[in-house]
Amino acid sequence: MSVKLTTRQVGDVTVVDAAGRITLGEGASMFRDTIRDLAAGGHKKLLLNLAEISYIDSSGIGELVSGFTTVANQGGVVKLLNLTKRVQDLLQITKLYTVFEVFDDEAKAVQSFK
């Protein structure tokens, strides 16, 4: 299984609901393309809901970071929502917990963009 990505708006925050696996190949490519398209379309407040992400490898983490940088370079921000314990562990081991703001409550996450 690859990754399934759907987007929705909550006010001026774009929520990307991701499900599946973000790994080298189709999953990571789809993820990269979606974030880049959103950034190019002027979406500056991105909230990535990773509740249904069962697996992410270093390529997937790389795309998370690249997306963060791409959006930041355009004056925007990417935040993370609903990390599973395994994804949390990966972000801690890679020290990316110090880079991303992480939430487990969508309403609070959306509010934080204001």
């Binding site: 790994t23 697996y55 270093s58 790389g62 963060f68 081991i93 890679t94």
Partner: protein, 141 residues
């Protein structure tokens, strides 16, 4: 249960990464690792295979990836060899330091070292790189 050894020669494709993952996780499951340990072994294995396919063999159809898995009652040993030009692990920037945190790649070796109990890179003869990783079964307390 004594020692069980599996060896496979795989193509330099992303499909081989999946094949190797299934093979190794079957052995890890037979050893009795729990779900979290299986996940960590799986990640380490995928990172190693991706390095062999993408960076070692560069998807070259003429180059193979050599997988060996040895299962004992206490441990799982995975050896992955590519037929590339060789690899200097000291040349990999530390992904945890400074601006390297925001690099889009370069975390694979670090994850393998973090998730396996032993990790060793050596030159593969006659050509390529060989990575050996070992995961020990935790003793019951």
């Amino acid at each position: 249960m004594e020692e069980h050894t599996l060896e496979k020669v795989l193509e330099s494709t992303l499909e081989s990464v999946d094949t190797a993952e299934h093979t190794v996780l079957d052995e890890a499951q037979a050893l009795g690792f729990d779900e979290d340990e299986l996940h960590r072994v799986g990640i380490a294995l995928r990172e190693c295979m991706v390095n062999a396919v993408v960076h070692g063999n560069r998807y070259n159809a003429k180059k193979k990836v050599h997988l060996k898995v040895v299962r004992t009652p206490q441990s799982l040993t995975v050896v992955i060899g590519d037929e590339g030009d060789g690899f200097d692990p000291t040349a990999v920037p530390d992904p945890l330091v400074g601006e390297n945190l925001l690099r889009g790649s370069g975390r694979g070796v670090m994850l393998m070292q973090a998730f396996m109990d032993e990790f060793q890179i050596s030159r593969r003869e006659p050509q390529g790189t060989e990575v050996k990783m070992v995961k020990y079964k935790a003793k019951a307390t």
